[in-house]
Symmetry: C2
Subunit: 232 residues, 2 copies
């Protein structure tokens, strides 16, 4: 497999996808066919068309063709024509439900496992893990299951953010939420900060970007790991 | 029905349940039998027993008997003996899944609809709404459905917090998340700030506490409403 899984599509003060432009232009080098964009997560309720236009503008500026999956006659045709896939962020529940219900899920799964490059950001990275059980999103729709692609043997928590020491708000910190996850699940969780991404072939996982990431395992204290190869 | 639905169990600088003590001691006045505590949401993975001890300490200090639902032989017996119910906060997915799977759900539903007083905080308030689709919690387990008690004809977003103007973090604000909910759902959503609670008979809903709340309706701008009777 050839995976690029980013915590976020943009970081503060930088335009859409620009902060890791070198990584994704290299990721999609020498592909045959357009990058097929999966806009189903619909951030802010954005239409599939408008969301695709935003992604296309970023890819086209680097000389890479991008086409929305909704413009093909069916998922099989989209996958056959795809040089690779980019799945954008938004709501993870909406994304997974849509993929499963319109049967795109199984086609993309097979194609990525056969080697076509896949890039995700935020919700699009979340679904590459074992389940969507560590998404930050609101459960605005009910998907048929929480299990996801399991291309990497851990769960991702995108937009990972450290708890604030001085807050008066009683909502749980991100770390507390992930530790609650481990009361009920064994899967390791990677807290991926904005500005970080993972490159993986499914076996070797490399943390890229300038920041460290935080690994949570059941019955262990979380550990901070620098960028480089992840031991998970 | 006789409902008291709080955004949170405690506010900054105040001990557990103390900030609305007058409200809940009045809510449970003249009941026959103990308040039956539902600890299934298990905040921070706390055991049912330890969580019940915390709730019992607060209730006993006001001369009210409280007993964990897990100490009864079965849900039917618990509900028959209950003078009322208090469902504590924690993880809403864990709470709803447990209630549905051990069949406590239908017994409590009937008993509350027949008039026994119910108090919820956070997750315990969330499940009083139409669905759990506006919880802030992480989906750490997969419940059989997201539909909940529907005792009030709207959804609650507890721990409601306003977006921060100066943040550099790219995660969605609470308002954006609720507006995404309305791309897929018609149910009104009440953003209930910490320190606020609702008292309701199922028809008339009164916002209590010193803060305003925020009402979200599909296709409308959100509105701030002062405490008092809610028009929903």
């Amino acid at each position: 497999m050839k995976l690029l899984l980013a915590s976020t599509s943009s970081i503060h003060g930088h335009s859409y996808l620009s902060y890791f432009k070198d990584a994704w232009t290299s990721h999609f080098k020498d592909i045959h066919g357009p990058v097929v964009f999966i806009p189903y997560a619909r951030p802010g309720g954005l239409s599939l068309k408008k969301y695709t236009q935003i992604a296309a503008a970023a890819f086209n500026s680097q000389g890479i063709e991008l086409r929305g999956i909704q413009t093909f006659d069916n998922p099989q045709q989209a996958v056959e024509n795809a040089g690779g896939f980019f799945c954008g962020g938004g709501n993870t529940f909406v994304l997974l439900k849509t993929l499963l219900e319109n049967k795109t899920y199984e086609h993309i799964d097979r194609s990525v496992r056969e080697g076509k490059p896949y890039m995700g950001s935020s919700a699009g990275s979340n679904i590459a893990g074992k389940t969507i059980g560590t998404t930050n999103d609101m459960p605005i729709v009910y998907p048929p299951k929480f299990d996801s692609f399991n291309w990497v043997p851990f769960n991702i928590n995108p937009h990972y953010i450290d708890g604030k020491a001085n807050t008066t708000h009683k909502g749980e910190t991100r770390q507390t939420r992930i530790q609650e996850f481990h009361e009920f699940n064994e899967t390791p969780v990677l807290g991926l900060r904005e500005g970080s991404w993972i490159e993986s072939d499914g076996i070797k996982h490399v943390l890229k970007g300038e920041l460290s990431a935080r690994i949570f395992q059941p019955n262990n204290d979380p550990i901070e790991i620098p960028n480089g190869i992840l031991r998970l």
